[in-house]
């Protein structure tokens, strides 16, 4: 196996992604909306006079009552505004963060795998001396590396937004909470790998980038499940839950990769094209 070949495959795909407006838009918009615009709007509202009454909503209080003891304890000595902001952006937003690696990895992988077929460049690639494994790893890395970079940068930006916008409320740097570390550095890469694995599998069966992207987008249901679970108090993404969740997702991604590699060979790719 040649790492030089793997590197050039990843380099080419990343270069192409950088020039693809539809993928670039999703790479910028998703983090911008979820991790910047939404918190900024909420923090601005929270800093306005009268926000205490607004955030002292009975529904919000009922939800807070349902939260696990660990969360209630961490919010214990805070006022309503502080506890609402911390609950929302420190805890409830955590699963939302995972949408990003999933969507980014799926869109880049769809561009990389199904995009080759759509643009009719696949055959020339298959006529090269690169092995199936080199092609697969190169393409998977082309989706994995930018996803991680953007996720980590987004996390930094999110932390900055929350600390700067929240400073008048908390009077200190309050984010990230400990539960975010496994989420960002362990669960996020796992979700990125899961998105890539699913997209690779789907890409061998569909002809277009959009087809692959939309089908793999169904994985967002997983994140929505986590969000609902956490909002209803059933799941709390603590450090330990994060570690276990990451392990399970890595396992699932491994299974998808295993089947993806079986599908990603010249015969399967060309045989599918011939029909």
């Amino acid at each position: 196996m040649s790492w030089r070949k793997i590197r050039v495959i990843a380099w080419k795909d990343i270069l192409e992604v950088r020039q693809n407006k539809s993928v670039l838009v999703s790479m910028v918009l998703v983090p911008l909306i979820i991790l910047v615009i939404l918190p900024v709007v909420m923090l601005v509202l929270a800093n306005l006079p009268g926000s205490a009454e607004t955030l002292n909503d009975p529904d919000l209080q009922t939800m807070m009552q349902k939260m696990p003891a660990a969360i209630k304890e961490s919010l214990g000595d805070m006022n309503d505004v502080q506890s609402s902001i911390m609950l929302m952006f420190g805890y409830l937003f955590a699963p939302m963060f995972l949408i990003m690696p999933l969507m980014l990895s799926a869109s880049i992988a769809a561009e990389s795998f199904a995009g080759e077929r759509e643009r009719k460049t696949l055959e020339a690639l298959l006529y090269t001396a690169a092995s199936d494994t080199e092609l697969f790893i190169g393409k998977a890395l082309a989706a994995f590396i930018p996803t991680l970079l953007i996720s980590f940068v987004s996390f930094l930006v999110y932390a900055l937004v929350l600390n700067i916008g929240g400073y008048p409320l908390f009077g200190r740097l309050w984010f990230p909470l400990p539960s975010w570390y496994p989420l960002v550095f362990w669960v996020t890469p796992a979700f990125a790998a899961l998105g890539i694995g699913a997209t690779v599998l789907i890409s061998t069966r569909v002809q277009t980038f959009m087809g692959a992207y939309q089908a793999s987008g169904a994985l967002v249901v997983l994140v929505l499940g986590l969000m609902v679970g956490q909002a209803s108090g059933v799941v709390f993404l603590s450090v330990w839950v994060g570690l276990i969740l990451g392990f399970v997702i890595w396992l699932a991604a491994g299974v998808l990769f295993f089947f993806g590699i079986q599908q990603f060979n010249r015969k399967a790719l060309l045989y599918q094209r011939a029909h």
Binding site: V8, R119, E123, A124, Y127, L270, H275
Partner: protein
Amino acid sequence: MDNVIEVNHLQHHYGDFQAIQDLSFDVQPGEVFGLLGPNGAGKTTTVRLLNGLFPSSGGSISVLGYDPGQAGAKIRENSGVLTETPALYERLTARQNLRFFGVLAGMSDEQIRQRSEQLLEMFDLQQRADDRTGTYSKGMKQRLALSRAWLTNPKLLFLDEPTSGLDPEAAVQVRELIAAVRRQEGTTVLICTHNLDEAQRLCDRLLVMRAGRSLAMGTLAELRKLVSPGLWLEVHFLQPFAGLEQVRKMPGVLSLQTESTQSLRIEVAAQAVIPQVVSDLVGLGAQILRVQAQEISLEQVYLQLQNQQHPRQSALVNGGAL
């Protein structure tokens, strides 16, 4: 010297569909060999099998001394392929495209740089080498795709429909480039085409295919003899000529075709009998205006082969003497 390609009784099927049936041929070093046939004849599948993209269902193949089923990567490393579409990365520049394929072929950065410059100049692409290839004309894209195929100085080159979709001017340019590079580098070339003019101009030998089968193989002269063993004379008369029966009985005359009362096509056994036939025609009172020897075109050969099973074709297909 050993043949560059040897194919014996090759079979391939996609599910129930038999794509290649009992195909045998060989390609000699330095030769331009053409696979000629309509769409669906099995040309592209043959090239894929020769490159080891997937294993065959039966028969044996040797390419550059390697078995594609075992050493496909080795074959691909030593050969170049021009696919039916240029298949370029249109968001990348020409140089970036060449670098990508050069690294995958195992070339060093310095080798890629030197060879790219040489090819970009040879194919007249240097001015636009740093532009995205998506902005290129079809002819430019095809020239760049040819450069990519030639990048590694391959011993063997596969060209799948090299002028497909090009305007006549660009097609001529690409054909001239293929001929020039072949002369310059002595590369063995296998061309898949349904363009008869292209095949006639470029190929030393041809394999005519239909529905995955071989119909005939040989040089153009051999294929001509296969469908029409004699030489055709077109004779035009000043006055209507009525002695057809006497002409039919002349020594060396194989067959006749009447075009009109003042013109006749005569198939003669060999060039040597032409003076005698002309003399006999004059003796029969024919007032000859013009006599023209005609070679049967590849188009006529091809259409005849595609439309009928010729009784003598098996000898050629099986490599028998003409």
